[in-house]
Subunit: 392 residues, 2 copies
């Protein structure tokens, strides 16, 4: 537990960055994609399978875990890592985004957000201080400041007020973390400001002045579309220090990810590979495969015969089609696995391309395959995550 | 594919039998428990995990597979084994039981059963000939005659008429199999007769005269209770040839299985380990563990720390409790795995006990642990299986 958080920039190809984050629980190779383990599990996957796909780090959701099993209970159980058998680094969000999208009867104030659990209606309060306390109780290696994810569309005035609130919460989060955080843990600030370049600049500059060990970009992929997202991203990263990792929250499609890497982003998370997997949408180098489609009913080809991932190469599309159509859990298991594996392979290929100075070519290829799909982040696909995905 | 079906009786301890069935796809050690792979998957488990628990053979359901993906389609895809990545032997039922419990608007006649699919309302007809044809198209190693599972309670007259119908269907099934079955495949007859000893005797004798390579006992564990089930079983096996394997369909709890072994049964199948697994009911040597129970919320002990099964020894009860309460697919994956593993371990222990002449002791121990649970078979727990267990 003695290795402190440290980011090393190893190579650049245009604005795309190759790097490495050292943590007490192991290295994170960047650009990195973090599979989402919402409620203490990357849905429908064993933790060691997630690891074997090449994921160095996963994400846990503060909102879900504070409600069930509860942060104090998790601490008594030894923390999130041992709870879910994941010994690599874990990043937790602050709960701010999900309390606004999932909880009932939420009331936001300067102090924080009061809300009722979507599970059992119990009343809770999330503040910057409580968010950090929970993230420390969970034992997260990388923690997020408490923020407000500015909705889209928002007027400039609304976006500015929201951004300023997030800045005040950043200061309170940082103060709380300095009291409660451990040596080996790190707290990231979150840039907000909607799609307004000057607000993004101001937010990034203010957070930079506070000297966080890493910076997230929040409030994107919330409906503004890929073009505006990438434009906003480009002006945002301009104002972030090169020596710190940058994390684009809740993004996204393969094309989104590669385009964001092209604008200097190092870290990503998204429920897309697992959620799409449960719905029978598979990602491959040849594009998306909708396994519900009847054309696969007698297709004996695997998803990708060249893949070393057994889920991608070891089962026919006909079988996957059958499992998904039949609502069989094994369908969710196999397609989630194949998708998480594909995402990790995409990141490995992205890192290799940056190292070898051929990133532009990879970006063009990915855009050609996935470019027709518009940007889609947590905001569009996350709401369904509140429901149990499985009924026995 | 040249090894013909052959049963070898290797040892006896009282009426309990240790044996081995040679098939073209490998040996089946008996007493054997066959995990149920209803719709081409042992629910929530990878096929290689099922194999690794020690299962030599699995069961597939003709009714489910004829409706989806369809028997002719399955044949075009190369058969059930390659479809689901299971290279060991597969036993299929005849569809007779499930068409009566799951299908809509069913109409039974001498010819067979006309019904509508519970999935899409399409009309189908199952006859002894069509049942065998489907089982051959699926490529089942062990097939079942088409029969009527006599309901409980039934009058003697109704049970007799039903039993006689099943005998006529046995002859038609046998004739169809002699035309369509392959050398290496085997067709089992099914003893019916409700809880009436003389009907059971007559059914067993008539089927024995037809010289099947194996015999199933059907129409038990349908509500008559464990005592009456075991009594009926004892009088039934008396009339079955010692040199052929005996299969008790749809049974059951660990206590049921051991008690049935004590009455000369060699083969079992039941959805219990997987279905209970999805509901958070775990089987252990210390008894059933209902993981939904709040007492496990902070229990850091695994289900069974001495188990070599990672699902049983590698995760805390607190984590399993959390997953099951949260409706997480991983909960179903882990508890199903632990349960199938427990059932296979129970069978291995049963085989070892018979070989070493200490079966009575095992039977007493199992009855002490599981005896308080009444007998429960497909009839009680199978109806829910028609629904998709998983909603993405």
């Amino acid at each position: 537990m003695s290795q402190p958080f440290r980011f090393t920039l190893k190579a650049q190809d245009g604005a795309a960055r190759l790097g490495e984050i050292a943590t007490s629980r192991g290295l994170i190779r960047t650009p990195a994609f973090m599979p989402v383990g919402t409620a203490g599990t990357v849905k429908a996957m064993f933790a060691d399978t997630v690891k074997a796909t090449g994921a160095d780090i996963i994400l846990g959701n503060t909102y879900h875990l504070m409600l069930r099993p509860g942060a104090e209970r998790m601490a008594r159980l030894g923390g999130l890592h041992s709870f879910m058998n994941w010994d690599g680094p874990i990043l937790t969000d602050s709960g701010g985004y999900q309390v606004m999208s999932l909880a009932k009867l939420r009331r936001i104030s300067e102090e924080g957000v009061a809300f009722q659990s979507h599970i059992d209606g119990t009343r809770h309060m999330l503040t910057p201080e409580r968010s950090i306390e929970i993230q420390c109780l969970l034992g997260a290696d990388i923690q997020m400041q408490f923020d407000e994810c500015t909705p889209y569309p928002a007027t400039r005035e609304a976006a500015e007020a929201s951004m300023d609130l997030s800045l005040r919460w950043a200061a309170r989060s940082q103060a709380a973390f300095s009291r409660m955080g451990a040596e080996h843990q790190a707290l990231f600030g979150i840039v907000q400001g909607g799609v307004f370049p000057e607000l993004r600049a101001r937010s990034a500059q203010a957070l930079t002045a506070m000297d966080f060990p890493g910076y997230a970009v929040g409030g994107l992929a919330v409906g503004e579309g890929q073009a505006l997202m990438l434009e906003t991203l480009a002006v945002t990263t301009l104002h972030l220090p090169a020596a710190k990792p940058r994390y684009l929250m809740g993004v996204g499609t393969p094309a989104d990810i590669v385009q964001a890497v092209a604008r200097g982003i190092d870290m990503f998370d998204c429920v897309m590979p697992t959620r799409s997997g449960r719905h029978g949408q598979a990602f491959t180098w040849a594009g998306k495969v909708n396994l519900r489609n009847a054309v696969y009913a007698e297709d004996r080809r695997p998803l990708d015969e060249s893949s070393p991932c057994p889920a991608a190469s070891g089962y026919s599309r006909a079988y996957l089609h059958h499992l998904i159509k039949s609502g069989e859990i094994l369908g969710a298991m196999l397609v989630s696995w194949a998708n998480v594996d594909f995402y990790q392979r995409l990141m490995a290929e992205t890192r290799a391309a940056i190292a070898e100075g051929r990133f532009a070519e990879l970006a063009a290829r990915t855009a050609a395959t996935y470019g027709e799909h518009d940007s889609m982040g947590e905001a569009e696909i996350g709401a369904a995550e509140q429901k149990a995905d499985f009924k026995p």
